[in-house]
């Protein structure tokens, strides 16, 4: 049993100058064989392993990560969590995640700093208003807290927004989901890793998958930079690199991996205490506990694995930020970075079996995967353990691209942050 984290353990350890903390997770070498291997040590992959061990009693499993855990999109995103999605399938999936978020710090005994400070989405034209109202009604009937706000209510909730009718695209209204908010991205990966490790999951870092071994239509194992690992079940949770892994198994996916950028300002004292998203002018902003303004930019239109995007995207985003928050003009960008996001044609994820038995994919989260981390892990674990999807992820199968039964979230959000 690991040290339990609490104020008391902190005080106790202070007396020994914090010399006695245990490892949050170990650094094992891979075993020859596992019951299942998760490819990708981001939040989703670690959560999958955690729930496989916890809810499905699969403890002889491993997570292989080519770099360091949480180093991909988990550690690069703007940490917005919400569940106010339009379609029933999406709402079910994301609200399942949100409900887990609400107790996650306690469950993991790791403070993931889930902060339900509310997420506001703004409308800037008449179609935005219709779309946001449509979504709000759908949310309400799906049991998801969401309210439509007038311009004045938007202003009251976040007074620093420029709601003047004279701006280029005035704020015509908005929606608010109060249960939504942010969390500490690193803590999510680390918390799941610690929890999984405690149940016996091997977390193997610096271990890159080089091939997937198939025997006919069955998975036999994976080739890695640390040798061959035999397993009958492989769950791929490789985000931007999903297609790369799929190609190893001879599959193609309906994905394009594109650069998504984000930036933070220098830290300042609290100035905005909610999350505000604006699809129409493309501005997403919140303030971290450290005081940095955390700003999400958009994706570029080309495939890239370079983790770099073009400057015009950042410029466009900041243009919008200053349009809505002219007081931020003298704030300064401290750091800017890019991630690789795997985008599906319908802006919804894939949590699915494949034509290869024992090979499962969890991908296509595009720009908005972080919020789903716990739900995604839980449902993907279910899918792997039972070789059948849970009813909450049944709609997110690969076959939808053949049948046409897409879960098209474009209508609800140009970019589904």
């Amino acid at each position: 049993m690991k040290n339990k984290y609490s104020i008391f353990s902190l005080i106790k350890n202070a007396f020994s100058y914090h010399e006695n903390w245990q490892k949050a997770w170990n650094d094992p070498q891979p075993k020859k064989e596992y019951d299942a291997v998760i490819v990708g040590g981001g939040g989703h992959g670690l959560a999958t392993a955690y729930y496989l061990a916890k809810k499905h009693n699969m403890k002889n499993i491993a997570v292989v990560e080519k770099g360091w855990i949480g180093g991909g999109n988990t550690g690069r995103n703007t940490t917005i969590i919400r569940s106010n999605y339009l379609w029933d399938a999406s709402a079910g999936l994301y609200d399942h995640a949100l409900k887990i978020w609400e107790g996650l710090s306690q469950e993991l005994n790791y403070n993931v700093m889930f902060s339900q400070r509310g997420v506001m989405n703004l409308a800037h034209n008449l179609q935005d208003v219709r779309d946001l109202k449509r979504r709000t009604h759908a949310n309400r009937l799906n049991g998801i807290d969401a309210v439509y706000l007038s311009t004045e209510e938007v202003k009251n909730f976040c007074p620093i927004i420029n709601t003047s009718p004279d701006i280029r695209y005035p704020v015509l209204g908005g929606t608010l989901q109060r249960r939504a908010g942010t969390a500490r991205h690193d803590a999510v990966a680390w918390g799941y890793a610690r929890g999984a490790d405690e149940m016996g999951v091997d977390i193997i870092q610096n271990c890159e998958v080089k091939g997937i071994k198939r025997n006919g239509d069955n998975v036999e194992g994976i080739e890695t930079t640390k040798g061959f690992i035999k397993t009958k079940k492989v769950g791929v949770v490789a985000a931007g690199h999903s297609s790369v892994i799929a190609n190893m198994a001879g599959l193609r996916l309906p994905l394009e991996s594109k650069p998504l950028q984000a930036l933070v300002s220098e830290p300042v004292k609290p100035i905005i205490d909610t999350v505000v998203m604006s699809n129409a002018v493309h501005a997403y902003v919140s303030q971290s506990d450290k005081g940095e303004l955390v700003i999400g930019a958009g994706t570029d239109d080309y495939v890239s694995y370079s983790q770099k995007g073009s400057h015009q995207i950042v410029e466009g985003t900041l243009n919008a930020i200053l349009e809505l928050y002219p007081i931020f003009s003298r704030m300064r960008m401290l750091r800017q970075w890019g991630g690789i996001v795997d985008i599906c044609p319908d802006a919804s994820p894939i949590l699915s079996k494949t034509s290869v038995k024992g090979l499962y994919f969890n991908c296509g989260w595009g720009t908005g995967g972080f919020k789903a981390t716990p739900g995604s892990g839980d449902l993907f674990a279910h899918t792997i353990a039972n070789d059948e999807p849970h009813k909450l992820n049944a709609a997110f199968n690969l076959n939808r691209f053949v049948s046409g039964d897409l879960v098209d979230e474009h209508g609800a959000a140009a970019v589904a942050h």
Binding site: Q127, D186, I271, L322, P326, I327, L334, R335
Partner: protein, 1002 residues
């Protein structure tokens, strides 16, 4: 305050120009040329700020943009106050006001300082381990945490300054105007290369320009004099643009760089009126030369953060450049020769230098000898183990190191008085821009530095950012490199004689030992974020291995200096602790910007009205003069409705709608996309892009077309007119115009290059006035008396080319309202006049201008869809009950195959229907969801209301909706559950008015 801390030896300070400024409310004086940091030091102000976590008193550490501690809030004005400004970068001006941040009530007495005593409870990552009980309390803890975090304060009013962009294309960009940068710029410009030289400082020359020692000579001149002469010559060159106060922020691929040119921050309020504050330079360079120099590293030992502890190079610069004495009792602490340069320079100015503490066992380099000869005491093999003094350094304790440097030779501790400790931990090449550009580094064991290895583009690093630290090396290597890189044969710098000192002994200890147990010490690695060596060790103990993990867990390198000072130590401590070689630990990624970049600068003039382009129609002035309200449709400003007097929108729209159906209305339809299509395969092309057939359309006839995506979903619609055998004009939706044009071009160029078809956008060429209503024919007849408007000559869905006076016009008799209607197209510059004449001609018929809202209402009465409002990318034409426009005979068209997939063929897809409310006065909300039953959990939603209006012509509320299986639900009762009530509706045909289309021929 008297300026008793100045030495009279600086060429760079204008002592005749005294400047007054305020710091923390108190007035001080400095001189022109001072930075806020140098002026504060001259006034003996060392306590400048408080650290992020422990609120420890902090002073000025450096003399440049890497400053982690002395960061201040500049300005009081709510609009232009600026947080987190480095005092070392602020050039003082009259009226400057600055204050300490992150302290309350004051920097001298800061309540937050209590955190320093609680620090045993606040190790790295403590917040991940606590604040979890009770479960619901995190957000309450968070409020307190947020308020104690943050540094300065955001402005609270909109910025009043102006920022601008400038694109620059040059042959050679030189970044950094130190000695190697100057050499590079001169070589390039002399060789007819169009050259841009940038430096973040206000002066050229880097550190050499104040290097006045006999130890450093070039061509028998003291190095600063030699460089000064070079600069004078450089300035005479034609091909060169020099920008100072210009910091390169980002180095992207393809030699695209962003630089911030600071134009007025050093000026007083009066001087900067109406001037651009900062300019973002967007530079595309054929070749880039990075000459960004190197950054001095601190040393990591217990309590190495007190005000008065500074980099040795900073102490030297303050003395040599600003003429400022940082301390009265100066001690240097070093692991290399740099500190001796500083010590000697100070000594020669008559400034007290008490001693040098050197962790090396000895050195026989000439500069060390010189120091010894001057009588400066040197403690070899010694280290500082602790420092004393809360708000200002008072004393240090030193001990003799053991042979391996990990412990001590004996237990003797010497306490020395000192108020300024210059620390010198060696130099780190500033490779930030190089790595940003995608460059790969290599680790040089001998002096433990990362230097450029593989260049990803046409660029080169020269000087100390390339790891050349000694003067002769710099000159020789820079000269050779330049010849090769710039492809020039001769250089001014071949065969120069250089005199320099040579470092002969090296020793590096990333974490210096302490006589105390490490848990009791505070050896800071990241000053601003209060991350210590023991935090790094804790992270490693807890299993964090990757440098990125350690960095994130401890927040090392995450401050506003982005780890410029501490990153190397973090790597070194990780390497030492884990036993991994330093070169194998890897580096963290240096991300843009190099120094923080003001949002306003990035945005430039893209603010206010320039945030996004607006487009206006030729009739726009008339709309404004007639009280129109405007709607944003894409980038267009479209007239929305025309309120009269105190009319509400609803009232105006009701009036406009009624007037149009009763007599006549006029709409500005100029924004519709218009594409001229010519070529022998024009008809075949239309067959392929629209769902219906086009070959048989008669010349002079119009036809409605629906365009799909390849996935079978409705993409755009509009009327296309056949102007000639191989000549059509297509109209598109306003919002879809650009996308349709580019999609069609795509198909033509890439899928169907065999088709002889040319597309030309003529959206802006035409102004379009649509006259509709029973009296529209009479109005048109007044306007163009010689045009035969009979149904025989000019039937519905046909086209005429006519003249109004001498001006050619195109008239289409088409209708989006269900009324008899004419769309008059005229060359745009005659559009306003056309509109006015229509209004004049229609006066006797009460012709009523109507906007987009009335247009939407009128078409909804007829059940016509609006793509984007009634569709959302998930509707097929079949779903819209528009089977009539989908050809069954055509072999193929864009999207056809997708209509035959299992899901798109389902009978119970959402389908377009009409809805009538039981209470005819209740107007449904657009977006409202529709259900058939309540007693489900969750409630099953069948669809939603897409369009909803009160129809004045039918005197009841009408709505269009999409409903699952709606096609077969005619007459069925459904419910709209609103928050506060449920509205009962009946499913009806979506055509509410004039099903027989009688009005079209009225």
């Amino acid at each position: 305050m008297s300026q008793n801390l100045r030495v009279k030896s600086s060429n760079f300070i204008d002592e005749t120009s005294r400047i007054s400024f305020k710091f923390n409310g108190k007035t001080y004086y400095g001189f022109k040329g001072d930075t806020l940091a140098s002026a504060l030091l001259a006034n003996n102000v060392h306590l400048v700020g408080r650290s992020f976590k422990y609120h420890r008193p902090r002073g000025i550490m450096t003399s440049g943009s890497e400053e982690p501690n002395a960061i201040v809030q500049v300005g009081n004005d709510k609009a232009i106050t600026e947080p987190n400004v480095r005092a070392t970068e602020v050039e003082i001006y009259n009226g400057l006001e600055a204050k300490s941040q992150n302290c309350w009530p004051s920097v001298n007495f800061d309540i937050g300082g209590i955190n320093n005593f609680l620090s045993p409870l606040l190790p790295a990552g403590f917040y991940y381990k606590t604040f979890m009980w009770p479960a619901s309390f995190w957000e309450k803890y968070e409020i307190a945490i947020r308020h104690s975090a943050g540094l300065g304060r955001s402005p609270t009013k909109p910025d009043t300054d102006i920022y601008e962009h400038r694109y620059i294309h040059c042959d050679v960009l030189v970044i950094g105007a130190g000695i190697s940068g100057i050499m590079a710029a001169k070589s390039a410009a002399q060789n007819n290369l169009n050259t841009l030289l940038l430096d973040e400082k206000n002066e050229l020359g880097g550190t050499t320009i104040y290097q006045n020692s006999d130890n450093f000579k070039i061509d028998n001149k003291i190095s600063s004099e030699w460089l000064n002469d070079e600069i004078e010559e450089l300035k005479k060159l034609d091909n060169l643009e020099i920008k100072t106060r210009t910091s390169v922020a980002a180095y992207h691929g393809y030699n695209y760089l962003l630089a911030r040119e600071n134009l007025t921050d050093h000026q007083s309020k009066d001087e900067k009126v109406n001037k651009v504050r900062q300019r973002l330079l967007k530079i595309r360079a054929k070749k880039v030369i990075i000459a960004t120099g190197s950054l001095e590293r601190p040393l990591v030992f217990n309590n190495n953060d007190r005000p008065g502890i500074m980099l040795s190079s900073a102490v030297k610069k303050y003395a040599d450049y600003y003429g400022v004495i940082c301390g009265k009792k100066n001690i240097f602490f070093t692991n290399n020769d740099t500190a001796y340069e500083s010590a000697i320079s100070l000594y020669k100015k008559g400034i007290n230098v008490h001693c040098v503490i050197d962790i090396r066992e000895n050195s026989n380099s000439s500069i060390v000898k010189e120091a010894q000869d001057l009588g400066i005491k040197i403690y070899w093999s010694h280290t500082v183990v602790d420092t004393h003094g809360y708000k200002k350094l008072k004393q240090i304790s030193i001990m003799e190191l053991s042979k391996d440097g990990q412990s001590f030779a004996n237990s003797n501790k010497t306490v020395l008085d000192c108020d300024c400790l210059g620390i010198a931990g060696g130099w780190t090449p500033a490779v930030h821009l190089f790595t940003q550009s995608g460059g790969k580094l290599k680790f040089r064991e001998k002096d433990q530095v990362f230097i450029p290895n593989i260049y990803p583009s046409k660029q080169i690093s020269i000087g100390s950012c390339n790891g050349d630290f000694e003067l002769d090396e710099i000159i020789k290597n820079t000269s050779d490199t330049l010849k090769d890189f710039l492809e020039i044969d001769n250089s001014d710098y071949d065969n120069l004689t250089v005199k320099t000192t040579k470092e002969t002994s090296k020793k590096n200890i990333w974490l210096l030992p302490s006589d105390k147990f490490i848990g009791k010490t505070k050896p800071f690695v990241d000053y601003q974020n209060d991350a210590t060596a023991k935090d790094i060790k804790l992270a490693l103990r807890e299993g964090f291995r990757s440098i990125e993990h350690v960095k994130r867990y401890t927040t090392t390198g995450m401050g506003t200096d982005q780890g410029k000072l501490g990153n190397m130590h973090a790597l070194g401590i990780i390497a030492d602790t884990t036993g991994v070689k330093m070169g194998e630990v890897g580096t963290t990624t240096f991300r843009p910007p190099y120094t923080p970049l003001t949002f306003g600068t990035i945005v430039g003039r893209n603010v206010g009205e320039y945030f996004d382009i607006f487009r206006r129609t030729p009739m726009n002035d008339w709309h404004i003069n007639n009280n129109a309200e405007f709607e944003n449709v894409g980038q267009w400003k479209r007239a929305w409705y025309y309120p009269r007097g105190n009319e509400s929108m609803h009232e105006a729209v009701q009036r406009e709608s009624k007037a149009t159906r009763e007599s006549a209305g006029i709409l500005d339809a100029s924004t519709l996309g218009k594409i001229d299509i010519q070529g022998s395969d024009a008809s075949e092309f239309l067959n392929r892009v629209y769902t219906n057939a086009w070959s048989k359309l008669g010349i002079g006839k119009c036809r409605y077309g629906l365009m799909l995506n390849e996935d079978g979903m409705v993409y755009d619609d509009g009327v296309t007119t056949r102007l000639g055998e191989n000549h059509y004009i297509m109209t598109t939706t306003t919002g879809g115009a650009a996308n349709v044009m580019s999609k069609l071009e795509d198909y033509l160029q890439t899928e169907w290059p065999e088709l002889d078809v040319y597309l030309t956008s003529v959206t802006d060429h035409f102004a379009t006035a649509t006259i509709g209503g029973p009296n529209s024919k009479k109005i048109l007849n007044k306007l163009i008396p010689n045009l035969d408007l009979s149904d025989e000559n000019f039937p519905h869905m046909s086209f005429k080319k006519v003249k109004i006076g001498k001006i050619n016009c195109r008239i289409m008799r088409i209708s989006f309202t269900g009324e008899l209607s004419y769309e008059i197209n005229v060359q745009a510059n005659y559009g306003k006049s056309l509109w006015e004449q229509c209004i004049d001609a229609g006066k006797e018929f009460n012709i009523t201008p109507y906007g987009t809202e009335t247009m939407h209402l009128l078409r909804a009465e007829k059940g016509f869809i609006i793509v984007g409002q009634d569709t959302d990318g998930t509707m097929t034409p079949i779903d819209l009950q528009m089977d009539w426009v989908v050809s069954k005979k055509k072999y193929d068209f864009i999207g056809k195959r997708s209509l035959y997939r299992s899901d798109t063929m389902r009978e119970d897809r959402k389908q377009m229907v009409g809805l009538l409310t039981d209470d005819s006065n209740t107007i449904l909300e657009e977006g409202a969801q529709i259900v058939s039953e309540f007693n489900q959990n969750p409630v099953q939603m069948l669809g939603h209301v897409t369009s909803s209006y009160f129809s004045p012509n039918l005197n009841k509320s009408i709505a269009l909706a999409v409903v699952k299986g709606g096609k077969d639900m005619m007459g069925k009762k459904l419910f709209i559950p609103m928050e506060d009530k449920t509205i009962n509706v009946t499913v009806v045909d979506p055509v509410f008015l004039d099903k027989e289309n009688k009005r079209l021929n009225a």
